[in-house]
């Protein structure tokens, strides 16, 4: 297939662009920056052509469907929109500083597809998905997700720049300690059967939510907590991607899933949930190591980047603009989904988990938009809300399919 070759070229282009943007920050040579932009642009054009080709191929196969219909295609489209929005930001704000943060998001998503061996077959659509609304719904939603992704990357920079000290080591130990205590408890409870497992996840969810709320309401004054949050977000991003990558490599090459068997049931089995205790312990130890590494090197990273990063006001402004683009798109995405559901089933809203999670995400960004009108809420809080919003986006996109169940089967990882 021609399109898959072009997709691979685009992946390589984004990899090169990521390396170049990072070296641009390190060496500050204009030529490097310009090459990075040129390569990103070229990769983007190639990827656009690949998407169109794939669309045509589906017609040649007599299936005739928009290339936005399964997990593979949605991940590809997510990177496409992220790069598009990034390029617009770069041209509009005339700064290449964000490239080093945004391009990894795009590249990792593509790498995830390849490492993961997510099927790139063009499969026919089930009757419920055969609707023009599918196209609008997915297109609009993913453009929105991409804008939120860019907002997230910039919020992370904002938070890093906003912090002046990493705070007492006690914070790190509290963070590490929480993981050390919770992981085995979760492990033990999970082995007691589904009920205990559910109870554990519920408890953990409540804990995390409470921390987020503390951060949003009071945390901005407690900069070391915000730094902990920053380290947590970065660790989470790295660890999840790496762990899922290992999972896939392991499952695909060693175990061979039975046909039709869902990957979902085996998530993290090759790392955190491995049946061999040493592997589990090593995996968790790796998480702890990554976490403490990021926590202890954060300030150094800040000092390194400080000269190249635009003023904080600008970061705040760009984040707001990205959300001002993403939020109307998310709104329209939810609405097109509702209209579609109404034409297929006669209900525009059925509180299905995916719907509800998109609504929760929508609430979080609505909080972002209104928080500016609450006295005393400023940059750092906004950046935290924006980060929490993107965590909700990721959960809506992947987590719901992996952890919960519902109508939106197409995102399934099987």
């Amino acid at each position: 297939m021609e399109s898959s070759l072009l997709f691979n070229i685009a992946t390589l282009a984004y990899l090169a662009a990521m390396v170049l943007y990072i070296s641009y920050l390190a060496f500050r040579k204009n030529a490097i920056g310009q090459t990075a932009t040129a390569i990103t642009l070229a990769g983007f054009v190639v990827q656009t052509v690949a998407l169109l080709l794939r669309w045509r191929e589906s017609y040649q196969m007599d299936i005739g469907r928009v290339p936005l219909s399964n997990l593979y295609e949605s991940l590809v489209f997510f990177t496409w929109s992220t790069v598009l929005i990034y390029l617009i930001v770069e041209f509009k704000y005339k700064t290449k500083a964000f490239g080093a943060f945004v391009m990894p998001v795009a590249f990792l998503a593509l790498a995830f597809i390849n490492v993961a061996g997510i099927s790139s077959d063009i499969t026919p659509l089930v009757p419920a998905l055969k609707s023009n609304w599918l196209f609008y719904h997915v297109l609009i939603s993913f453009l929105g997700y991409a804008a939120f992704g860019v907002a997230f990357a910039i919020s992370m920079i904002y938070l890093l720049m906003n912090i002046d000290e990493k705070g007492p080591v006690a914070n790190l130990f509290a963070g590490l300690g929480t993981i050390v205590v919770l992981a085995p408890i979760g492990y033990l409870m999970a082995s007691q059967g589904d009920r205990m497992k559910t109870a554990f996840w519920l408890g953990l969810g409540v804990l995390v939510l409470a921390w987020f709320i503390y951060l949003i309401v009071a945390g901005a004054r407690n900069k070391s907590q915000v730094f902990l949050f920053w380290s947590f977000c970065i660790t989470l991003a790295i660890v999840l991607l790496v762990a899922m990558g290992i999972d896939f490599v392991y499952l695909v090459s060693m175990k061979n899933l039975a046909a039709g068997e869902s990957y979902k049931k085996h998530m993290f089995e090759s790392t955190f949930l491995n049946s061999s205790t040493p592997v589990t312990i090593v995996s968790w130890a790796a998480v702890l190591a990554v976490f403490s590494f990021i926590w202890s090197k954060g300030m150094g990273l800040k000092r390194l980047l400080k000269p190249y990063i635009p003023a904080q006001d600008l970061l705040d402004d760009v984040t707001y603009r990205m959300i001002a683009i993403g939020w109307p798109l998310l709104t329209a995405g939810i609405i097109t989904g509702a209209v579609w559901a109404n034409s297929a089933w006669g209900t525009y809203w059925s509180w299905d988990p995916k719907e509800t999670w998109s609504l929760i995400t929508w609430f979080v960004y609505a909080i972002y938009l209104h928080a500016r009108y609450v006295r005393g809420w400023k940059g750092a809080q906004m950046a935290v809300i924006s980060a929490v919003g993107f965590l909700a986006v990721i959960f809506t996109y992947l987590g719901v399919n992996l952890v919960l169940s519902g109508l939106h089967s197409y995102g399934g990882l099987n």
Binding site: R195, G346, W349, P353, T356, I367
Partner: protein, 505 residues
């Protein structure tokens, strides 16, 4: 004298203030976001046995008490939504008059006092004289589409202008759209219903079975004002809603994707039913082939293709189409035959006997032999019938024994001058229809449209004001340019600087 307020007044004011606060909105949004999670973690509206399998008995009792199994309809969730709506309404009513005043009031000339609150300003000495300054100002403003008003005083002139005032309404369009969506949803649950109907092929019904009864009918009936149209038949168990007409299922079928071998894969590409509507006197009004994503609406009631199933022990009729080879354009003659029975077809003077029906047959391309397969749930993946064809009214030996299947091309191997084609096997299945009436949906859709437009206006519009004051100060012409924008300040600043430059040059 101090204004004495009654306790009621003070209380009302307090409530108003409470509900107009953005802080409350943020708190409510946080709470809504968090509690919504519960309903996504705990499966909603499942059978009690399933909950007991998943949770302990005590947990089930507590969850049940808190309404966690149908969380989005519990009184406390509805109360949250109600509080939120009140918040939104009061907040909007509270702020709109200010906005309206701001929008309708004419621009006031700027003075040194009000200048303090204006974020962008530039004061410069202009050497070419006041007249030239006015000329340049007018040109610079016109070039950017600013329509200005002039105001003159002794020794000074002011140009006042504003743009993008409509953007002040974006927020209101957004907020009102949310209220509309809530109102539409309420109308739907008061006057609409959700129902289902499992309709066997060939039969008709004038009622549908309710999942939830219109609230209005329930209330009216409870108050004794009007009788509910809903029929409660204890034998049926499920309340039935009369349609006011008959709906009949003429036929239901599933199409499958065709694989590379030319045979159907097991993957369905389409579910469809042909429905006909008859009035109560039996007059046919219309028919339509509905598919998933393409329902039929009649008198505000919509029928959606939602499921299907086999009727136990029911036997269907085989529908066959017979057409002369010489007359490819004609529709031919369609006959319905019970499996095992025979039918005489006058146009070809032959009698056709249907030996049997199988849901999945495949022809071996080399030998022409037919192989039959079992399918799960008796799905008709490639329905096939075996026939015998006799001369005249039958009797004697069959001339030949063809097998026809759904996927046979238009001209299967038929030795004589006609073609027998498979058209359907009707009567052994029912179509599952989702039936809804929702008179509120247009209100909701209006809200949806406003909710798409409102934020765009709010985010991408910007109310910009500009003042240019040209003053004579001790023989010198002093030009002051001042401006403000409620949004997108950075781009306004650029425009502002360019205008100031053009005037001074």
């Amino acid at each position: 004298m101090e204004n004495q307020k009654g306790i009621v007044e003070i209380f009302a004011e307090k409530i108003w203030k409470f509900f107009s606060s953005v802080k409350l909105a943020v708190v409510l949004l946080i709470i809504l976001a968090i509690v919504s999670v519960i309903g996504t973690v705990i499966a909603q509206n499942e059978a009690p046995e399933r909950y007991l399998r998943e949770y302990s008995q005590a947990t089930v009792r507590i969850f049940d008490m808190l309404g966690f199994f149908d969380m989005y309809h519990t009184w406390w969730f509805v109360l949250l939504l109600f509080l939120f709506t009140a918040n939104l309404t009061v907040c909007t009513l509270d702020r709109f008059p200010h906005t309206w005043k701001l929008v309708t009031a004419p621009l006031k000339p700027i003075d040194d006092d009000s200048l303090k609150a204006v974020p962008f300003k530039k004061e410069m000495i202009f050497s070419a004289g006041a007249n030239k300054a006015e000329e340049r100002t007018a040109a610079a403003l016109k070039a950017r589409g600013y329509r200005y008003v002039e105001s003159r005083g002794p020794g000074s002139a002011q140009f006042m202008t504003q743009k993008g005032i409509y953007s002040r309404f974006g927020v209101y369009i957004t907020h009102v759209s949310i209220l509309l969506i809530f109102v539409g949803a309420l109308i739907g649950s008061f006057f609409g219903f959700k129902a289902f109907l499992n309709l066997p092929e060939g039969s008709a019904s004038k009622v549908v079975y309710l999942r939830n009864e219109p609230m209005w009918d329930q209330i009216m009936a409870a108050l004794g004002i009007a009788e509910s149209p809903v029929i409660h038949d204890p034998q049926v168990g499920v309340p039935a809603m009369p349609l006011g007409y008959y709906v009949r299922c003429d036929n239901f079928d599933v199409d499958y994707y065709i694989g590379p071998s030319g045979m159907p894969t097991g993957m369905p590409s389409e579910y469809h039913s042909t429905l006909s509507i008859f009035d109560l006197d039996g007059q046919k009004i219309l028919d339509k082939r509905i598919r998933v994503n393409d329902p039929l609406t009649h008198h505000g009631i919509t029928f959606y293709q939602s499921s299907y199933g086999t009727i136990p022990d029911a036997r269907g009729k085989v529908l066959l189409n017979v057409r002369l080879k010489s007359d490819a354009s004609s529709a031919g003659e369609t006959i319905a035959v019970d499996p095992g029975a025979t039918a005489y077809v006058p146009s070809i003077d032959r009698t056709i006997k249907v030996l049997g029906f199988a849901p999945y047959g495949m022809r071996n391309p080399a030998t022409g032999e037919i192989v039959f397969y079992h399918t799960e749930n008796d799905e008709y993946i490639n329905p096939t019938v075996e026939l015998e064809v006799y001369r005249g009214h039958g009797g004697g030996k069959p001339i030949y024994k063809p097998a026809v299947m759904k996927t046979d091309p238009g001209q299967p191997n038929m030795p004589e001058n006609y073609v027998i084609a498979y058209r359907g096997y009707v009567g052994a299945r029912y179509t599952g229809l989702q039936v809804t009436k929702d008179p509120g949906v247009w209100v909701v859709y209006t809200g949806f449209i406003m909710l798409c437009i409102g934020p765009l206006i709010a985010f991408f519009g910007s109310h910009r004001k500009l003042w240019v004051r040209i003053q004579d100060r001790q023989g010198q012409t002093v030009v002051l340019v001042a401006g403000s924008a409620n949004r997108n300040r950075i781009s306004f600043e650029k425009e502002f600087n360019r205008i100031a430059e053009e005037i001074i040059k």
